[in-house]
């Protein structure tokens, strides 16, 4: 598994969609990007808000650009973390990356066997705060399917 192909991307999307539909019960948009941050596949589920496709793509782009889940980046931007470890230098992140940087939780990078980042998956449209259900867990379902 050296690079993400369309076939693998669709496998991830299918698993994530199934998770979002059957377990979370919310409609969302899911995007998969390759290691350059370029879109491989985007799906918007029936009933998901229209603007979520763009946000899902941006989350995936950010995850691959920083080689880390956007959940971690969102901790940087949280004003409550000011003065804590990695908490007080990150407000300048806002608006970087020609406006594409999106540190909303929901993007997860995908690594191969050598721990090299080969792409990312991003999800948008699931409200967070209900148990384990969030954009991140939908993306995680997609990542898990890739390694099966």
């Amino acid at each position: 598994m050296k690079e993400l192909t369309l076939e693998l991307a669709l496998k991830m999307l299918e698993a994530a969609e199934r998770w979002a539909k059957d377990i979370a019960g919310f409609s969302c948009s899911i995007a998969v990007v390759d290691k350059a941050g370029a879109v491989i596949a985007v799906h918007r589920m029936d009933g998901a808000a229209m603007a979520t496709t763009d946000i899902a793509i941006e989350k995936a782009w950010t995850a691959v650009a920083f080689k880390m889940p956007t959940l971690m980046g969102s901790r940087w931007l949280d004003p409550r973390n000011m003065g804590k470890l990695m908490g007080d230098h990150a407000m300048g992140m806002i608006g970087r990356g020609k406006g594409r940087l999106c540190f909303i939780p929901g993007g997860i990078p995908v690594a191969d066997e050598e721990n090299e980042v080969i792409g990312a998956i991003g999800c948008s449209g699931v409200p967070s705060g209900v148990g384990d259900i969030s954009d991140t867990s939908v993306s995680q379902a997609g990542v898990t399917a890739l390694y099966e």
């Binding site: 369309l6 969609e17 350059a36 918007r44 229209m50 148990g131 384990d132 259900i133």
Partner: protein, 152 residues
């Protein structure tokens, strides 16, 4: 237009362009021009994804093939003076975007980008030829997803 139909269209399109030996991106938008699904084939250039989406948006917005939007630059056609060049970041006159019409009613649009515009149009037409057959195979009465709220 829903995701199931869009996925079927994309599957058909990718199969057809593989048969032709072409690499391309295909975008499906709904009747308001919003993206429903987008696939970029392995090896297709990166910007093709965004251009395919632009073509599909243009086709959905005007309800005509994206190539025909360039007619607004012709002084002999009504609609002359419309700012085709700088209307917004999506409007394009490159051939390869086609509206999907069902009995005259717009249900979505498709955009193909990757090869020369002529070949994009051929791929587009090949996909549209199959759409209503696909629709019949899916049948009516698709159920909505059952709602569950997970563990509490």
């Amino acid at each position: 237009m829903n995701l199931e139909v869009a996925k079927n269209l994309l599957q058909t399109g990718i199969k057809k362009s593989k048969e032709m030996g072409k690499l391309c991106s295909i975008a499906i938008v709904d009747d308001h021009g919003w993206l429903v699904a987008l696939h970029r084939m392995d090896g297709a250039p990166i910007p093709t994804a965004e251009i395919a989406r632009d073509k599909a948006w243009t086709a959905a917005a005007f309800r005509i093939p994206s190539a025909e939007v360039s007619q607004f630059g012709d002084p002999n056609v009504s609609g002359y003076g419309f700012n085709v060049q700088n209307w917004n970041e999506r409007l394009t006159t490159i051939p390869g975007g086609m509206p999907i019409l069902n009995e005259g009613r717009l249900i979505g649009a498709i955009g193909v980008c990757g090869e020369t515009p002529k070949e994009d149009v051929i791929i587009c037409q090949n996909i549209l030829k199959d759409i209503f057959r696909e629709e019949r195979e899916l049948g009516p009465g698709r159920r909505k997803p059952r709602k569950k709220y997970g563990r509490r």
